[in-house]
Symmetry: C2
């Protein structure tokens, strides 16, 4: 029977790691600050905001919300980003997306400084993930998939990994993070000829397409690890589920992440760890600059 | 017997396409200009420079060389990049690399404006290739591999493509260009477990590792296309050769690019096509701005 890779212990371990970092920063007189930029008052945004605030408080991160009216202009939104960029106290920026219609979201994302782009929204963060140069941050969901593998000590180097999906938020960044850890990565998508064969062949499958329970028993074999980033509603089972039919594959594969309670549930803690990391990077940069001046 | 995919007709076709573009620009009073930045007088750089000048003249592209002494400072090099960036007449910038020791080459590459980065040197060009957003340009060698596939009408969509190598100049950009054309892409590298099996499985193989004649007859099967970006010296055959043992695979596979006279020979014409493209993009941008002002 497959091991169910649940989010809870991963989140707790990441929370502890983040806490260690924020406590070290606190002893240097620094409080990491997450700046949230919200346009309008969508209930999903407000609910996520409440959750983030609670979790931030729990790990010593301060939250400052910049809330704009739903009809805010492009200029007003860019000004708000500029203010968060310029504020030295703000370590990281989370902007709720999608932005209202008529706003050039790409342009606003690009305006976020990469060193504060804890949500991996901008192209410079993407180029950091692509090149491994350390600029910006990976998207929360792609990083959460890696946190799952790390926590459960699933080796990646030299393994055949099949990534299903090629979006800029899930598939492509996940592929690059896996490549950086020496996996042999195959990127599959809607135009892939025999997806089932690709999945069966892989040692590790990372899937994020949002097709309810697409991966069934005839798609898998013993020894595999399935990381499920999909989220969709199954009309058959009348519930939220992932790309993997967990009940069907559990008797066959080695390990599988559930949905809900899997990768998605790790994402918001990844965001907090990025805020602490951003504050830490900034602190180290200041230290090295001071050391440079002292010489 | 495999079809030998030689560079000559690909270069000629690309030359014609570039010429069409430069002639259209000429009729609008625009001459595309390639700005070359050279630090020192390495013979390889000088020889490449002569070749580029000749080919540029042939397609109506003007060349301006900014030559700095071998001991030029970081500031002097950055100033030269800044001047080429600021010069509205300069369409694209080619900077010979590697820069002399002690120079922060990454920083200089990042200084090149992405819209003039015809050699794909900067991270913003990489992010353009990664995201498909149209920013900057792909590296010449990765684009040259695609030009080979396009010219010889080798379909890529839905095909299994094995890319060997994960550098930021060859493997990773090639993988992203292939993905954008709907290939199912596997990225292999030094840590890949069974490289031979990966190669045998693929419909198309793009290899750029520089291991002389690594891919022999037992690595391939009928129906495959091999695109060879490798370049190394074979001590056995006492000549330059690619990653593919052409004599060994030719009786088996469908098509293969030779080395020399293959992908590498297409690269410099790709550079020129990028210069024309950069001038064209700039012209269209000016036109659309003028149209905006006229409204």
């Amino acid at each position: 029977m497959a091991k169910i890779l649940s989010a809870a212990p991963v989140v707790e371990a990441l929370r502890q790691k983040t806490l260690v970092k924020t406590q070290a920063l606190a002893s240097a007189g620094i409080t990491p600050v997450l700046g949230i930029l919200r346009v309008g008052e969508k209930s999903a945004d407000l609910s996520y905001e409440r959750g983030v605030k609670r979790r931030c408080g729990d790990v010593g991160i301060e939250v400052r919300v910049c809330a704009l009216p739903a009809d805010a202009s492009q200029e007003a939104i860019l000004d708000a980003v500029g203010a968060l960029n310029a504020d030295p106290a703000v370590s990281g920026i989370l902007m709720f997306r999608p932005l209202p219609r008529g706003i050039d979201e790409r342009r606003v994302c690009e305006a976020i400084l990469p060193e504060k782009d804890v949500d991996g929204a901008g192209l410079r963060s993407l180029s950091g993930v692509f090149s491994g140069c350390g600029l910006g941050f990976a998207s929360g969901i792609s990083q959460a998939a890696m946190e799952m593998l790390h926590y459960y000590e699933i080796p990646v180097a030299g393994k055949e990994v099949c990534v299903i999906g090629r979006s800029l938020v899930v598939g492509r960044p996940a592929a690059m993070l896996l490549l950086a850890e020496d996996a042999t990565v195959t990127i599959c998508h809607s135009r892939t000829r025999d997806l089932k064969a690709q999945v069966r062949r892989a040692d590790i499958v990372i899937t994020g397409v949002g097709r309810a329970e697409m991966i069934g028993e005839d798609w898998v074999r013993p020894g595999q690890v399935l990381i499920d980033i999909g989220l969709s509603y199954s009309p058959v089972k009348q519930k939220l589920c992932g790309d993997v039919d967990l009940d069907a594959v559990a008797p066959i594969v080695d390990a599988v992440t559930p949905v809900p309670g899997g990768v998605g549930a790790v994402t918001s803690m990844v965001l907090l760890s990025h805020v602490a990391e951003a504050a830490d990077r900034r602190y180290r940069l200041l230290l090295s600059r001071r050391a440079g001046q002292a010489e």
